[in-house]
Amino acid sequence: MSTDSATSSPPLTNKIKRHLPGVEGVWAFIFADMVVFAVMFGSFMYDRSQNLALFEKSRQALNLDLGGINTLLLLTSSMLVVLALNALKLAKPRLAPIFFALALTCGLTFIVLKAIEYNQKFDAGISILSNDFFMYYFVMTGMHLGHVVVGNAILAVLLYKSRSAKAGDSITAYESGATYWHMVDLLWICLFPLLYLVR
């Protein structure tokens, strides 16, 4: 990671103005959202500590492969969005729509895999009311899925917008959307180990 930062960014000097990507409000929104998720993580861990055997037994019923593939999908998608933004910044706007389209494909695949995963659970007779573990599982992954749906809509808008982008256009809107999408990725990075891997 350190080599990556050395090559892709200019060295920070005092002359370069520190810059928050996108608009300030998006960051305020994201932090509020992340605090809510953090509270849910804490609540999940607390209820888990009250009933270790049940949570561990239920966890083993989860599909680790689908969860893992979904983690990779979101990471890839996030990286593609970074590439799209770089294309816009480096005045190669024609590449941006391609990257956004690929990122959107990853996002949509995530939804499809999640639907398959939920269906497997329903087929096995597991629902939100089965026990406390599955309550957290369905609610937290469901709320995250809601964020993915909103994120996909944002990616679609950015894809559409970037088709007519010219070099030198303002990229604030792209940065705001990208920041939100990275947060969706970030939340899944935390949610996945919490539900699927903690034992």
Binding site: M1, D4, S5, S9, L12, I16, R18, H19, L20, P21, W27, F31, M34, V35, A38, F41, G42, M45, Y46, R48, S49, L64, G68, T71, L72, L75, T76, S78, M79, V81, V82, E175, A178, T179, H182, M183, D185, L186, I189, C190, F192, P193, L194, L197, V198, R199
Partner: protein, 71 residues
């Protein structure tokens, strides 16, 4: 980043001691979360206050999860 994800994945599939594996998994995901914030979300060029807020979020979330796990 992709490497980290795959390592997390493979790591827990093998049967290591649960406590060691859980704590390493949580620490790895905390590092991944920080990397996403600082590199993907470009916090590394952002004002110090936002960097601090992001670091505090990762630190507190990770600390809370691990301490409740160990209790």
């Amino acid at each position: 980043m992709l490497g980290t994800a795959t390592s997390t994945w493979g790591f827990t599939l093998s049967s290591v001691n649960p406590i060691t594996s859980t704590i390493s998994v949580m620490l790895i995901s905390a590092v991944k979360a920080a990397l996403v914030m600082f590199f993907f979300m470009e916090l590394r060029h952002a004002p110090k206050a936002w960097q601090l807020a992001a670091t505090i979020w990762v630190a507190i979330t990770c600390a809370v999860v691990i301490s409740i796990y160990l209790l």
